[in-house]
């Protein structure tokens, strides 16, 4: 191709480079530089306030693999991610199916359903903390009034309540994303497929499993991968709701990184945690990229 390039083609190529150059520069400044510097810092023992320290080689990594805190944080991260993601997917699909029906308040409901997703995390968490409060929270009030419990429950201060609460609030906050994506796909499934299935003798449940679900498969793979990546690195919601407690029972990897970097002032070890986190997420990312690429190719 290059040998047969005409002058015009070369000019277009030069113009193209010029046009993407600013993006590439910004990308390098905000993604490549922090990435490389995190990897670099992870080989040092660094005191955060001064950012000074000594070369320790791989010892940050060997230490983190030996400490229980890393493994328990990884376990918490997996429980949180799998728990909240499963609920997001189940409620998201269910709600998308409801909103796809020809119900009279459909437009209003479609707008309202996005509310948790658009609301700021800080605001959402504050509201949920009030709801969960053991002295004046409406949750305890309702449960006691209904006779389900006799004494107020500690939603955020004991286990497993704290993890369950965090997972539920995460599901509430992020399921609208699933609703939007699934609803968009649902609307593009041709009616003729459902009609053909009806004539072929498929009832509503068979139509869901034989027509709807296979048609949602591709979009669900993408949603699950994206949400898995985002939930895996979720920080603010958990930090604000429980701060990782009780003790470290809801402490996920991002919270651990924060703790190492800014509470224990060990930027080197924090960087090592972050790099390991990134390696784990890289697996999801590679799957996601392969998935979207093969979709584009077909």
């Amino acid at each position: 191709m290059s040998s047969s390039n005409t002058l015009l083609e070369r000019r277009y190529a030069a113009l193209g480079l010029m046009l993407i150059a600013p993006t590439v520069l910004v990308f390098c400044a905000v993604i490549i530089y922090p990435l490389v510097s995190a990897i670099y810092l992870s080989f040092f023992n660094i005191f955060t306030p001064t950012l000074e320290g000594e070369w320790v080689g791989l010892s940050n990594y060997t230490e983190l693999l030996q400490t229980g805190q890393f493994w328990s944080a990884l376990g918490n991260t997996l429980i949180w991610t799998i728990g909240t993601l499963s609920l997001q997917i189940i409620f998201g699909i269910a709600m998308a199916l409801v909103l796809h029906q020809n119900i009279w308040f459909r437009s209003l409901a479609r707008s309202l359903i996005l509310f948790p997703y658009f609301i700021s995390t800080v605001v959402a968490v504050l509201v949920w903390k009030w709801l969960f409060n053991d002295l004046y929270g409406i949750m305890n009030h309702l449960l006691i009034s209904a006779g389900i419990i006799d004494f107020p429950m500690d939603f955020l201060g004991t286990m497993p309540n704290a993890m369950v609460s965090v997972i539920l609030v995460g599901a509430w906050k992020y399921f609208p994303f699933v609703v939007i994506a699934v609803l968009a796909r649902l609307q593009s499934i041709p009616d003729a497929l459902y009609e053909a299935a009806k004539i072929d003798g498929a009832g509503p449940i068979a139509r869901f499993f034989d027509v709807t679900l296979p048609q949602l498969r591709e979009v669900l793979v993408v949603i699950i991968l994206l949400r898995a990546i985002w939930d895996f690195k979720e920080f603010d919601l958990i930090f604000l709701l429980t701060g990782g407690g009780p003790i470290n029972d809801t402490q996920t990897l991002p919270l651990l990184v924060y703790q190492e970097a800014f509470a224990l002032n060990d930027m080197g070890r924090a960087s090592a945690y972050a790099v390991v986190m990134m390696a784990i997420m890289l697996v999801f990312m590679i799957v996601y990229i392969r998935r979207t690429r093969s979709e584009g190719g077909s």
């Binding site: 041709p190 003729a192 497929l193 009609e195 053909a196 299935a197 009806k198 004539i199 072929d200 003798g201 498929a202 009832g203 068979a206 034989d210 027509v211 296979p214 048609q215 498969r217 077909s298």
Partner: protein, 371 residues
């Protein structure tokens, strides 16, 4: 096999009525086309028969059952959709087997039925492929296979050929006729393509504005259109329709329009003096000699014949059809006559009824009004 009966079937969507009091009796084993322009109610009619729409009033009967309240899956019908509606994630074999699976047919029996259907439609080589790996014609055959596999009482076909190219369409027309002959099943076929309807059907139901205009064999629809709409819709190039006036002359009638005046003989008892319409098919315009004067305005050469459009002295235009060796140049003055025995007279208005007697005899007395 079963007959299909529509009795006073009406379908409204809110204030809009798509089908008005339809009465249609399709006999066992018949191939019937529902033909009409877009929005004429033909697809709605088919969808009501399929159970995908429900009639606002009236009854639909398949065999000896009124099916109004019977869901599509239990009507013992099969349908081929315009878009084929193949299940994209299933292989060809699974697509064809699906209706059997949903009816609880065992795996072994399903395989036998699929193999048999695939052989009939020459799909055996393609059974493992997914629909997206097939050409339009192949997908169409798979859709047919899915309909055929369970041997339903009635086949419904919703413009199944409209997404194919012209050559394949011609081929599939022949295939479908052959299939109908072999299976002997009742088939209801929706199309807006009069060529498909004319070539394939035992009878054609011409619809317009949700109203059945005529239900008759193709030859009759062509030779004796029930009203002006049918006359204008059927035939390519279309029938020339000239507005004029009828007057009674003793026991016979006379039609006059600018440039044309002719005795049309006896008409049926719906004929009234006043506005009327004369219809002449292109092949019944005899160019060369005759009492009518005209000027050649357009000549369309199609290879085996030429279509000529002739301007008459009164400003009317007439379409004629002549074998290819004969040709005229534009602007040439010609004399012509109309085959009065084949002329059609319709009442006034876009749906003016046919006024010819069933025997369709008119006096061959043509002359130019200008003379």
């Amino acid at each position: 096999m079963a007959e299909v009966i529509f009795s006073e079937v009406k379908k409204s969507f809110g204030a809009f009525t798509a089908v008005h009091g339809l009465n249609l009796h399709i006999t066992e084993g018949e191939f019937v086309s529902l033909l009409g322009p877009s929005g004429c109610g033909k697809t709605t009619t088919l969808r009501m028969l399929a159970g995908l729409e429900f009639p606002t009033s009236g009854d639909i009967q398949i065999g000896d059952r009124v099916v109004n309240d019977i869901p599509p899956g239990q009507r013992d019908i099969a349908m081929v959709f315009q878009s084929y509606a193949l299940y994209p994630h299933m292989s060809v074999a699974d697509n064809i087997a699906y209706p059997l699976k949903k009816r609880g047919v065992g795996k072994a029996d399903r395989s036998i039925a699929v193999a048999k259907t695939a052989e009939l439609l020459q799909l055996t080589e393609l059974l493992k492929r997914k629909p997206r790996q097939l050409s339009g014609g192949q997908q169409q055959r798979v859709a047919l296979g899915r309909a055929l596999v369970r041997d339903p009482k009635v086949f419904l076909l919703d413009e199944p050929l409209s997404n194919l190219d012209a050559k394949l369409r011609g081929y599939m027309r022949v295939e479908l006729v052959e299939l109908h002959r072999r299976l002997g099943r009742t088939m209801v076929y929706v199309t807006h393509d009069q060529l498909e309807a004319m070539t394939m059907s035992d009878r054609i139901a011409v619809m317009e504005g949700g109203v059945l205009q005529q239900f008759a064999p193709p030859a009759e629809v062509y030779a004796a259109p029930a009203n002006r709409f049918v006359a204008s819709f059927i035939g390519t190039p279309g029938m020339t329709l000239m507005d004029g006036a009828l007057s009674r002359q003793g026991g016979t009638w006379r039609f006059e329009a600018p440039g044309i005046s002719m005795d049309v003989g006896a008409l049926n008892d719906r004929a009234e003096p006043g506005g009327a319409c004369l219809g002449v098919r292109p092949e019944h315009v005899l160019i060369g000699q005759g009492p009518v004067n005209g000027t050649i305005q357009v000549v369309e050469k199609t290879g085996h014949e030429n279509i000529v459009i002739i301007g008459l002295e009164g400003g009317q235009r007439l379409t004629g059809r002549v074998p290819a060796p004969q040709s005229w140049s534009i602007g040439e003055n010609v004399q012509l006559s109309l085959d009065a025995e084949q002329a059609h007279i319709f009442g006034p208005g876009p749906h003016g009824p046919r006024l010819n007697l069933p025997s369709n005899v008119a006096t061959p007395d043509l002359k130019s009004a200008a003379n």
